[in-house]
Each structure stands twice: as structure tokens, then as C-alpha cells.
Symmetry: C2
Subunit: 424 residues, 2 copies
């Protein structure tokens, strides 16, 4: 039936503004505070200015203010706090891919002819719960009938994925740790990141602290040595250690989408949404294999097809590194590297900012932080800034940046959203 | 700016199939069971048949499986249970208007050119919690910063709305009770309804039980007499009694949307989506008045404008009677009756099945039941069936049925979604 026809939007859509709250742990900020902060940041990026009343519709990605803040129906509250009432805002939830899906709804809302100017954002306030509470809330994005009762939480699930990858390919523990080292090097250059610090910085601080206290100073020779020491980097769910896991983060993100034909009213450097893809995957307990997320393959194939390009034309990507292994798997699912080649690409520095396939220049979820409902749009913002040449100290040194990609995963691949963005 | 231009869809969208689970309290059914039940019911209504793999995208309205079942990320689970993977499904949450908003996303997804065949449904499994737990979960759809800490729950909020309406207009307690009497009369004729029983039936049963037990038989003369007796109908939040409140319900609903140009492939009696409107309203603590929901006025104006009609052309409406007063307020906000005239219209039987403006022929949320995330689409299904002449014993005796309306409210009007449907 019609399921295999090429997907086309009736109207092209562009991004013309982008804003992030500071990412971190903020006891004094609620979801609404964070979202307003992101919106104000976005307003500052739009050359011609934008007021809340100029916006015709909105989408809010949020995983679970229900469980984190005991607040449902968050979308109209955001409309109220931004002064946008009666503009419609709808909350979209697909776990950690919530704002990835929200972006897609915003794109289709414009393409449908209903709207020309749409706000899409995401928010999550996570530090309101203790760590074990957060782990429990996140686990509810897995299958509560088959997976959660078996004792699975996300570190355990991604630990199993890492183990499967190690069994099948040449992947080893150092490959995983090197993803984290790279992402922290990028995050250090991102003024919105939760951790603006490299692993080497952390190692040096630990040494200095020991020295200050008159304790024996560990003789870590380099970052890998440091990360392989359980005193510095304890096991969470073997083979994953603490620094293989994205942190718990409070944060918000938003972008302004407009019909491409009016983009120049807002900026002379729009970024076009060239391809969008979204797919579901069966729960992991029933998946065909653990070393790949089927939804990522389907969603990226859709996005590439719509954009009319292949993975080799993607100059940079923000991928969903909720755990270090997830970045490696993503780099293979997206077609950047052959199955099993992802870890070697990390080893060779190919995914570093200076490599031929930079991944997570923002610092990724690992260092930038992972306010789950906000992450999908935050990824889009990094690509938007890189394509516009506005990524500051982490700007890629590549005059030919044209296409960038974002890869946003919900759960263990129950949802995957892939976008291909193109410099205007 | 562009906010005031007329809203138009680039492509017309039609409904070609509809399914409901049984509405009620089911200890042995989860959300996924209920949704599959609705889907199977829908399959049976599509003349030419439909398989899950024919569907290109899906939207699931759900308020809070998070809090009711500790299950987030419900959309891909539904895809899995329907055998639809890898088809994308996205959860939409706008409190009790969740599936109203989901329908809107489905309509825009088709209009955008991306898809031709889209499933839109809603589900809520509420009876997993005790009544006070449900009240708490629902209260989290109000503003958790200003309203909930003041002690407000939804019966209290709608009690305040009823009191304001009584103060401002000639509304009295009997007007409210008559809404319930009417809706139960309709619900008795709906084989999917949670309460297929009239208030008179309930009165007679209570009398018979007393007689059986050898207790004094109450001398209630009619339904109003019965409903005004606190032994039969206790106060919940003055001036609202038990039978002014919609029940707690488990249930699911779904419809199949297709591009109008291919509707005849599925049915010779499509129903077209002629107008869609959605708006936000400020939280009630900050609203200008209590006797009207501003979002309902804005959303209905949008829907009428898009459909090119006025309220006088609406032959029937399903409105959001979460409490009896809400139906009266809706009938005024939608322009069916002037402000303050709603209660008199009830008195005069104008909103009965035999009246000139039938409202809630399905039994409404009051008698059909209110599985909150499913209600928006369930309303659409009633209008769909009436316009197709397939509403069974409750079919309206009006050969000129052309336009019907649905009015779906989230919270206290933080969200309102209004659809105008047209017989094809």
C-alpha cells in the first residue's frame, strides 16, 4: 500500500531561531522557568525580533513532568508563562525522543498549510527527584510488562547492548571510554553545557585534591588510565562505568520554525529541514538483535530519502549518546560506518571535531547534559549553529558544511527520530 | 502578523473508520488491551478492510499512563501490540483533550503531504488507582504552582464554575441535574457506554432494593426528586453532586483518517474534517471570568471559520461534560445559546435527542464514561456514526444531518479542541 511511497512535504520549512537554557542541576528552577529561559535566549538570536504573539502554534516535548514534578498538561502552562495564550500548544511525548517528535509535528503543521510560524521546544526538570527516583522514572520508558519487572533499568539495558557489541565485534571498554573523552572535550567549549570540563581536567582536579589533603596522589598517566580506575569511575552496569552514562539534567530548548518562503523575514541564514524520519522499534526484549536499533535505520533511511542524499554527505551529526555505546551503535545505524567499525572510528579520531565525521560537537548528551524531553531540539540547535558558523570555540573548521543530521532515541529504540538539516 | 490569516489545510482529510473499546472498569485490562480492542472494533467498520501494515503513521492521545500505570513512552508499545512496527506513532498529551489534539496532529500530518493513511486514537486506564488517587492525578492537570496547593481538585474547580454561573444567571441546581438525566437517557442506548442506565432506572432499582430488604421505600416521585436526595446523590463539591460528575473509566478509541481523495477506497460514506480549532486558555486562577472558557470560544471560532459555517448549522454536538455545568457552559461558549441561556435550553429539552440542538447523544462523558485520553476521539466517533446514520437506537431522526461538532477540554480550559465534521 501507500507505506512505501516517497514522503514529501507540501511546503518547505526552515529554522530561523534557536535558544537553550543553561543545562545543569537547578534546585530553584521549575520546568516553566527553564522553558522561559530558553525562549528568551531564542528571541535574542532572531535578527528581526520576534514576540510571543507572532507565534501561531507551539509544540512542547516533555517526557514526564507528571512523574518529575507531578504536573500534567504542561503545554498550556508554557503558553501562559510565555504570554502566548490563546495560541495552541501541544505536548508531545516519546520518552527521550519527545522533542525530536515535537519538531516533526511542528514541521508538518507548517507544511499542512495551517501555520507559518511555529515554536517547537522541549523541557525536562529532572533533579527534583533523587538519582534512584530518576532511574525509576526513566525505566518506565521501557516495557512495563516484560522489561521492567525483569529488573531492567536503562544502564542495565545499554550495558547489555555494549556486551553484545563487544561479543560480536572488536569493541572494547576503552572504545567506550574514548567516546566520553571526546564528548567532554567538545562540551568544555559549549557555554550552555552541564559539564564544561574535559576528563583530563577532572583527572587533574582529583590529583590536586588528593595533594591538598595530604593523601597519596594517584599516578594516573592519562584519561584512559583515570577512567579505568574504579575509584575515579565506578561501575554502574558492567561494562558501563559512571562516565559512560549521560548525566541527570535540568534544561530546556526551543527553535522557531517558519515556512521557508518567509524565512528571510527572520534571518538571512535560515537552516532548512531537508529530511525528517521517525520510526518505532519493538521493545528490546523482542528485538531481533542488540547491536543495532532497527528504528534508527528506518528513520534515517526516510530522512536521507527525503533529503535526497546519503550518509556520506552528512558533514556533522548530533547523535543520542545517552550511554557511550549508544553513540557507537548510532554511528553504524546511520550508515556513517559499517557494523563493527564504529569503535575503530572513535579510536582513529574520525568522530572528533577535527575528524572527517564529527559527532556530538556540542558535547553530546554526555557532557552537554540530557534533560530528556529537551534533548531532541537541543541536538537540532547544535547543528543549526554549526551550519550557520555560530558555534563559537567548537565551530567546525570546514568551509563546506552543508548537511547535518540529528538522531534522537526514545527508550531503547522504541522511537527514533532523524532529521537532516541543510544550510540555506 | 500572520496569526489572523484564515487557517486552511493544503489537503482535505476524511474519517473512514471508527472503533471503541467497551467503556467501564476493567481490573484485567491494561491500556494496551483496551487500545487493541478499539482497533479491532475499528477494523470491523471499514468496508474494504484494513490491516495494521496499511497504516502509515499514528497518534495516541493519553493523559497519564505515567501516573496511572507507571508506563511512559506508550506510543511505540501500541505500535508493537498492533503489529505496526516500524510505523511511527507519537503520544500527544493535553490532559483530557489529549486525543482531541491527537486528531488534529493526524489531520495535519495528512494535509502536510507526508501521509495518506493515519491512525488516531486515545486510551486511558484509570481504575488502577483508588478514587482519591485518580482525583490527585487529574488535579495535576491544573496549575501545580497556583491552583493545586490552594486545595483545588477538579470537582472543586467546576463547583466554583457552577456557583459563578448560578450567581450571574438564572441557573439552578435542577438545571445541572437535568443535564445528567438527559445524558443517561442517551447512554442507555449506547452499547459501548459505561452506564447503560437512566437515572429513572437507578431510582427504581434503589426502591426495589429497599423493598427487597424490607426497609422503608423512599417516596421519590421522579428523577429530580431522587437526585435531590443526598442519600441517593451525595454532595461532592457544592453545588455539584455525585451525578453531576463524569465517572472514572477505562477505555480506548480510534479512528482512521485518510486523504479525502482516497476515502472511497475505504468507504462510500466518509465523514470530512471540515474545520479544526485548538486554543489555550490561561489557568483558571488567572482567568477573566469563571462562567466561560475562553479557549472554547477561540477554538470554535477557528473551526467554524475553516468550515465556513456558523453554530446554527451544527446539527449535533458532543461536548465535554466532565461535570454537568461544563455542558451548559460549552453550549454557550460554542454559540448554540446566548450566555445564561444554556440552562433554559436544557429545561426546554432543546439539547435532548428530540430537541433542535441535540448534545451528547452518546451519553456524553457522564454516561458513556470518560477515559480521559480517549474522550476526544470518542466524541468524534459519535458524530461520525450519527452523520453516517449508524448510531443504532440513539440515531437522530433528522434526514438533514450535515454538520456535527466536537468540543474537547483539557483541564479547566487550558486546552480546548473543537472539530467540525461534515457528512461526505
Amino acid at each position: 500500500m501507500a507505506t512505501t511511497r516517497p514522503r514529501r512535504l507540501a511546503r518547505q520549512v526552515s529554522i530561523v531561531g534557536a535558544g537553550l537554557s543553561q543545562f545543569g542541576a537547578y534546585a530553584d528552577k521549575s520546568s516553566r522557568d527553564l522553558f522561559v529561559e530558553a525562549f528568551l535566549d531564542m528571541q535574542g538570536t532572531i535578527d528581526t525580533g520576534i514576540s510571543a504573539s507572532d507565534i501561531e502554534a507551539g509544540y512542547l516535548g516533555n517526557y514526564s513532568a507528571d512523574l518529575f514534578e507531578h504536573q500534567g498538561h504542561t503545554a498550556p502552562i508554557m503558553a501562559d508563562w510565555l504570554g502566548m495564550t490563546p495560541t495552541p500548544i501541544t505536548r508531545v511525548e516519546n520518552a527521550c525522543a519527545s522533542s525530536g517528535s515535537a519538531l516533526r509535528e511542528g514541521v508538518m503543521a507548517i507544511a499542512s498549510g495551517m501555520y507559518d510560524v511555529v515554536l517547537v521546544g522541549g523541557v525536562e526538570k529532572m533533579t527534583s527527584l533523587p538519582t534512584e527516583g530518576v532511574t525509576d522514572v526513566l525505566a518506565s520508558a521501557a516495557d512495563g510488562l516484560y522489561e521492567v519487572p525483569a529488573g531492567l533499568t536503562f544502564p542495565g539495558i545499554f550495558g547489555a547492548i555494549a556486551k553484545a557489541h563487544m561479543d560480536r565485534y572488536e569493541t572494547n571498554l576503552d572504545h567506550l571510554l574514548k567516546v566520553g573523552i571526546k564528548n567532554h572535550e567538545n562540551g568544555k567549549l559549549n557555554p550552555k553545557a552541564q559539564f564544561q570540563v574535559t576528563i583530563r581536567d577532572m583527572m587533574d582536579r582529583r590529583k590536586a585534591r588528593s595533594e591538598q589533603r595530604g593523601e597519596p596522589v594517584p599516578d594516573w598517566s592519562d584519561e584512559l588510565d583515570f577512567l579505568n580506575d574504579a575509584r575515579a569511575n565506578p561501575w554502574i552496569a558492567w561494562p558501563l562505568r559512571l562516565y559512560d552514562c549521560a548525566p541527570i539534567t535540568d534544561g530546556a530548548s526551543c527553535v522557531l520554525l517558519v515556512a521557508s518562503e518567509i524565512a528571510e523575514q527572520f534571518t538571512d541564514k535560515p537552516v532548512h529541514v531537508a529530511g525528517i524520519g521517525q520510526a518505532t522499534g519493538r521493545p528490546l526484549h523482542d528485538a531481533d538483535e542488540l547491536t543495532s536499533l532497527s528504528a534508527a535505520k528506518v528513520a534515517s533511511a526516510q530522512a536521507y530519502e527525503m533529503a535526497g542524499i546519503g550518509p556520506e554527505q552528512i558533514a556533522l551529526a548530533e547523535v543520542h549518546d545517552c550511554f557511550t555505546i549508544a553513540e557507537i551503535v548510532a554511528s553504524e545505524d546511520l550508515g556513517f560506518f559499517a557494523p563493527g567499525e564504529g569503535p575503530h572510528a572513535v579510536d582513529q579520531g574520525r568522530t572528533a571535531r577535527t575528524g572527517d565525521r564529527p559527532i556530538n560537537t556540542s558535547g553530546g548528551l554526555k557532557a552537554k547534559g540530557h534533560p530528556v524531553g529537551a534533548s531532541g531540539v537541543a541536538q537540532v540547535i547544535e547543528v543549526y549553529k554549526q551550519l550557520r558558523g555560530e558555534a563559537g570555540d567548537r565551530q567546525l573548521d570546514n568551509p563546506n558544511l552543508e548537511f547535518g543530521l540529528t538522531h534522537n532515541v526514545g527508550g531503547t529504540g522504541g522511537t527514533c527520530v532523524v532529521n537532516v538539516l541543510q544550510r540555506g
